[in-house]
Amino acid sequence: MRSVKTLLASAAMAVGFAGAAAAEDPTKVGFIFVGPVGDGGWTYEHNQGRLAVEEAFGDKVETVFQESVPEGADAERAITQMALSGADLIFTTSFGYMDPTLAVAAKFPNVKFEHATGYKQADNVSVYSARFYEGRAVQGHIAGKMTESNIIGYIASFPIPEVIRGINSAYIHAKKVNPDVQFKIIWAYTWFDPAKEADAAKALIEQGADVILQHTDSTAPQAAAQEAGNVITFGQASDMSEYGPKPRVSSIIDDWAPYYIARTQAVMDGTWESVSTWDGIGAGMVGIGDISDAVPADVKAEAEALRDALSSGEYHAFTGPIMKQDGSAWLADGETADDGTLAGMGFYVEGIEGDIPQ
């Protein structure tokens, strides 16, 4: 064990020296992906960001990536390997890479790390995420207006704050325009499993849902909704416009390219610092995909107004009065949620049925 540590330490030093000695070398940027780059959703968009970095810097940058890296012990191995191979900056793009990223970062002080959607920072680990819940608010509004059965199906992935925030935000805004609305939530316990996602969508549709929201990465729920007929969906992470104008009526698009380019530039300039970034529609990290003609014009106009209000900051997606599921008070009238509470959100708001799995 000791020899392994020594080996790693000397390798890290070697990497550091090499970096210092040959400043002319291209900056090497690594990416760790949770799914395949062809998933059509989450990982696809991160890979688009990677390609944008290549385009922006040309020969001055070299990118490497590893796809379908399981969250957990395997991730640590993959990240270590990437650091050993001489990467200067490594983006680890899934929540489950949080602890592995920190563990590897501690061994490679000269390598910069960027962890997506997590909350643990270190001197050489930044965290970044997007305020997807702003997009969920727009989805919730359209869903609440469009549902006829008043049942909205939600395919959730893992019970982590990011996913719970999305459910709450969508529910609050659906309920606002449709007091009878009910959410049925399925926890798929996967980010990417097309067959399971399709089954989940079918189960929800069989139980009466005519709107499907998804927080998983593949387009399988879109296909299931299309087959079922009178069901609408929203693109997740990526536009998924090939399923428009129906079932896909709009989408949340993650745009990582500007952030990836800026952080790569910072490493090149030597100005990189550990930061925590959490940008929304306003900063362009979250985009709302084109709202299709399947949505009535007045609903579309309302949704766009909501998007613009969220973008300019004049409206916050979590604005009181909001109660927690157990009936206790959370936000008073007009009060908005602080980032700390949102980042660690582990409760449903009032009206959602069921429990968050522990």
Binding site: P194, S218, E242, E353, G354, D355
Partner: protein, 307 residues
């Protein structure tokens, strides 16, 4: 929580659809293992079948052609395994694992241009009269043809193994390849045919995922179904009807778990998800305490005519 939101008829019908890919792959693997060969490459052959079936389905516009191509592709890939294992006498476990990795890589290479495309899917057979029977009609007589093909395959495999000379030879080769060889049976030829059949079935199972169940091509879309198929073969003690039972049990729990969640039942998801695996382990424990494993005697052993 509201259990009456779950429609048992729809539940059973979707259970059959969810189980079909695993059933196809498992019945093929059961035959391969009955011949004494352990092919761990099921996942690789499934995903290759999925991508080839999808590609041909898109290009020809015919899902039936897609299925045929998927079966051929699965069989072709399995021949690679057969050649390595039977002629070059390589280790079956290592070769099978290699086949899975190869299949996963190959499929994403072939599949790149097909991402995000749509494919014509198999229409459901609405069998007249029969599908109008209350309860049984929607459960049994309102599926796409592949569901019936998979059930038919189980019946054929059962009949051939139990009641025909060919089946007897297959089992002899699997139980004791030296004895079968001494009797003059072509051990390698029989095994090659069994491996090809297994590959074709796995290919069909994969194509069912990409052409009917999802239906689209996404990298890595079989997501471990091949491994579940391998577990089911053991669970079933290598018997065809038990393979059917195992596959429907797995499929059933998958679908039931999602339905229970949607209905808001407060059973932790983890318990439901792990239940099929727990049952498999329990069955294995029961089988081994009885001292009868049911595993073919020559399973996984290398055959060379000189021994």
């Amino acid at each position: 929580m509201n259990l009456d939101q779950i429609n048992p008829i729809l539940l059973i019908a979707s259970l059959m659809v969810a189980a079909t890919p695993i059933l196809l792959a498992a019945i093929g693997e059961a035959v391969v293992e009955k011949a004494g060969v352990l092919n761990l490459g099921v996942e690789g052959m499934m995903i290759t079948g999925a991508v080839v079936g999808f590609a041909i389905g898109v290009n020809s516009g015919s899902p039936v052609l897609g299925f045929v191509a998927a079966a051929i592709a699965g069989a072709a890939l399995s021949m690679l395994f057969g050649f390595l294992v039977l002629y070059l006498l390589s280790n079956q476990v290592a070769t099978g694992l290699g086949l899975t990795l190869f299949g996963l890589g190959l499929s994403s290479l072939i599949g790149k241009p097909y991402e995000g495309m749509k494919v014509p899917t198999l229409a459901k057979w609405d069998i007249p009269l029969l599908s109008d029977i209350p309860v049984l009609g929607p459960i049994l007589f309102n599926h796409d043809p592949m569901v019936y093909v998979s059930l038919g395959l189980v019946a054929v495999v059962w009949y051939v193994q139990k009641s025909t000379r060919a089946g007897l030879i297959l089992r002899a080769v699997g139980e004791n390849h030296d004895a079968a060889h001494a009797l003059g049976y072509k051990v390698i030829r029989v095994r090659l045919m069994a491996i090809a059949f297994g590959g074709a079935c796995a290919g069909l199972g994969g194509a069912y995922v990409s052409l009917v169940r999802v239906p689209q091509w996404v990298e890595g879309m079989t997501a471990g179904a091949g491994w579940i198929a391998l577990a089911i073969v053991v669970f079933a003690s290598w018997r065809p009807w038990r393979v059917l039972l195992g596959a429907y049990l797995f499929g059933g729990i998958t679908v039931l778990q999602l339905n229970l969640q949607a209905a808001g039942v407060a059973i932790p998801v983890e318990y439901l998800s792990m239940s099929p695996y727990i049952i498999t382990i329990l069955v294995l424990v029961v089988i081994s305490t009885r001292g009868k494993h049911g595993a073919p005697g020559s399973l996984g052993r290398i055959f060379h005519a000189s021994h």
